[in-house]
């Protein structure tokens, strides 16, 4: 395989793609859906409320606050704190005077300013207000007079719906970029017979497929990352990138298979509609925790959606997901052989006219 040829095809795809409506839809549609979910459910993957603190002395409040389930950031100046809250980099900001702790302990009820971001959700405001009061009670030596026991209602409903939607949203972005884009461009090239024109140059059919695959792969990873970032997911960057790469690899093989097997766009859309249900099934099943996981495991896309869900939502390590991801890679390799076979068949059919 001539890598320069693969590169030339990839560059051609990158230059051509934005000129067609399909590409715009592939980019805009998943991001639009992500924004919509973001708007409906708040932060897609529900990060902890963020409290900014500027401490003019050396208050114990900072360390006590860090023991609560909130993100704490210390700012050097009051101006920096106010700016962070105004920009919604923090949901609330706490300004502590130099002698705050001693005055609290002496029962002097010192003034305390809590700045609230106008963009903070009511839930975050409430959580942060309660957390601050709780911390100060502890500082004053007046622990809470009662112990609240939290009980989750409903079996398996521990993961909020917005988190359970994450695999579906990410898969949509990855699948559109990695399956539909290469699949549709191959079919278009067959319909327009530009593929025939390429195949009487030094270019080989495998290089055409690889070039289209490279573009779909890169776009799928970028789209998956963008979707997660819009959803507020951060951290575990390497693990997320590895899973997205495996997802893109598997989806690319599916897209290339589709392009090589289908001869016209009408058939492509029909297969996309029917096959899409199967491909998306694991993501849909993850919405319903009561459904046994083995059903989702019957479908190849589970082997990147499952690990992604565990890593992003439950904070699992990459190593703990190694088995499922290895199965995902093995499936991708097997699909790669299928792509090679279908490509040869496509070339024969093109020659036969």
């Amino acid at each position: 395989m001539n890598l320069r040829h693969v590169w030339l095809v990839a560059v051609k795809e990158i230059r051509m793609a934005p000129r067609g409506a399909t590409f715009v839809i592939l980019i805009v549609f998943p991001l639009l859906i992500t924004f919509l979910i973001h708007a409906v459910f708040g932060d897609l993957f529900t990060p902890s409320p963020r409290l900014g603190i500027h401490d003019q002395g050396s208050s114990a409040v900072v360390e006590l606050a860090r023991t609560r389930e909130i993100d704490v950031t210390v700012y050097e100046t009051e101006e920096a704190l106010r700016a962070a809250v105004a920009a919604h980099d923090a949901d609330a900001g706490l300004l502590l005077q130099a002698d705050f702790d001693s005055e609290v302990r002496e029962g002097l009820r010192p003034p305390l300013q809590l700045f609230l971001s106008s963009e903070a959700s009511d839930t975050d405001r409430l959580v942060l207000s309660v957390a601050v009061v709780d911390v100060i009670r502890e500082l004053a030596g007046h622990p809470s007079p009662l112990l609240v026991e939290t009980v989750v209602a409903g079996d398996g409903a521990t993961v909020p719906i917005e988190d359970r939607l994450m695999p579906l949203v990410v898969l949509m972005a990855v699948a559109l970029a990695a399956i539909f884009l290469p699949g549709s461009t191959i079919v278009q090239e067959r319909e327009n017979r530009t593929l025939q024109a390429m195949l009487v140059t030094p270019l080989r059919v495998g290089e055409v497929m690889a070039g289209k695959g490279v573009v779909g792969f890169l776009l799928a990873v970028v789209m998956g990352l963008l979707t997660l970032l819009i959803g507020g997911v951060s951290g575990q960057t390497v693990a997320v990138l590895v899973v997205l790469a495996i997802a893109a690899l598997m989806c690319i093989q599916m897209g290339l298979m589709l392009g090589a097997a289908v001869t016209n766009m009408a058939a492509l859309f029909s297969i996309w509609k029917a096959g899409g249900t199967v491909i998306f099934a694991p993501a849909i099943l993850l919405l319903f925790p009561d459904v046994p996981e083995w059903i989702a495991r019957l479908i190849p896309t589970f082997y990147f959606l499952g690990p992604l869900y565990e890593i992003v939502v439950h904070g699992a390590s990459l190593a703990s997901q190694a088995l499922d991801l290895s199965i995902g890679v093995a499936i991708s390799i097997a699909l790669g052989f299928a792509v090679a076979g279908l490509s040869r068949r496509m070339e024969r059919r093109l020659a036969a006219g």
């Binding site: 040829h5 327009n192 017979r193 530009t194 024109a197 140059t201 030094p202 080989r204 006219g353």
Partner: protein, 294 residues
């Protein structure tokens, strides 16, 4: 035969049970233009696909530019140019981008797209997207694309299809230039007039077989009928004559009767015109195959 750009010997090819090419044998020399003529389904496209290495023959051998039966396809394709009948250009690219992309596939880093566009009369529209081109402009770009790599063998399928007479003449001139440069040109067409004007030799293909292959003039001499058409004014004032009436007679050339007629009419005051006529390639094709080209 050793100097031929294309040597085809007894090639057969079947699509399932349908025999598409049946023992075809011919050769094309560098600098020669060969017209491959036949109706739809005669085997023209299949022959081209075999020559370009897209199909492997079931039987027989093809030797093109030193490559036996396709051989190293990458190296073979580096030296051929193909102009398809379908206008398979990238419609969303400009004309210049189409040529640039294909020139890069051939590894040409310093390809002069402006000169190439100028050569086919598209210099002014080179930066327009192909989807805005007329049918004739697309055809000219197709020819330019086939010549991107200065090929040693050029396959042209209906190269002047959709062109106005002036553009068609320009493209024919360009094809002759390529042949003068030394390229072997393999022209497949329905257009007998085009084949007659361009080709050094023509091959008639019917039902997968070459039924005749020679220079157009030789085919006309061997298979055609040469004649002389004489037109005489018949309105000489006699009662019943129509005003402007003309009598027209056709005689085969080379016969004693024709010679005597020519002597007789030469001094006839009623003589309007004398034209010699020869059979067209289509007439010969019909004579040889019993069918037309449509």
């Amino acid at each position: 035969m050793g100097m031929s750009a294309i040597e085809v010997d007894g090639v057969r090819y079947s699509y399932g049970r349908t025999l598409a090419v049946d023992g075809v044998t011919f050769s094309v020399s560098p600098g020669e233009i060969v017209g491959f003529l036949g109706p739809n389904g005669a085997g023209k496209s299949t022959t081209v696909k075999i020559l370009t290495g897209m199909l492997a023959p079931d039987d027989g051998s093809v030797r093109m530019l030193g490559h036996e039966n396709g051989g190293n396809r990458v190296e073979l394709h580096r030296r051929i140019g193909v102009c398809f009948e379908e206008k398979n250009l990238y419609a969303e690219m400009t004309g210049r981008e189409n040529l640039q992309f294909f020139s890069r596939l051939f590894g040409l880093r310093r390809y002069d797209t402006t000169a190439a566009l100028r050569r086919v009369g598209l210099a002014e529209r080179g930066d327009d997207r192909v989807k805005r081109y007329s049918k004739g402009m697309r055809q000219r770009l197709m020819v330019a694309r086939a010549l991107v790599n200065t090929p040693d063998v050029i396959f042209l399928d209906e190269p002047t299809d959709g062109l106005d007479p002036v553009s068609a003449r320009a493209i024919r001139g360009l094809i002759r230039e390529e042949a003068e440069r030394g390229a072997a040109v393999f022209l497949t067409t329905h257009d007998m007039n085009e084949a007659d004007q361009l080709s050094d030799r023509v091959a008639f293909i019917n039902e997968g077989r070459i039924v005749a292959m020679d220079a157009p003039e030789n085919l006309k001499i061997e298979h055609g009928r040469r004649s002389v058409r004489v037109r005489l004014r018949v309105n000489n004032g006699a009662a019943g004559d129509k005003p402007g009436g003309v009598d027209e007679q056709v005689y085969d050339l080379g016969t004693q009767e024709a010679g005597e007629l020519l002597k007789r009419v030469a001094d006839d005051p009623r003589l309007l015109t004398i034209h010699t006529e020869e059979a067209s390639l289509e007439d010969i094709f019909i004579k040889l195959t019993g069918r037309g080209l449509a």
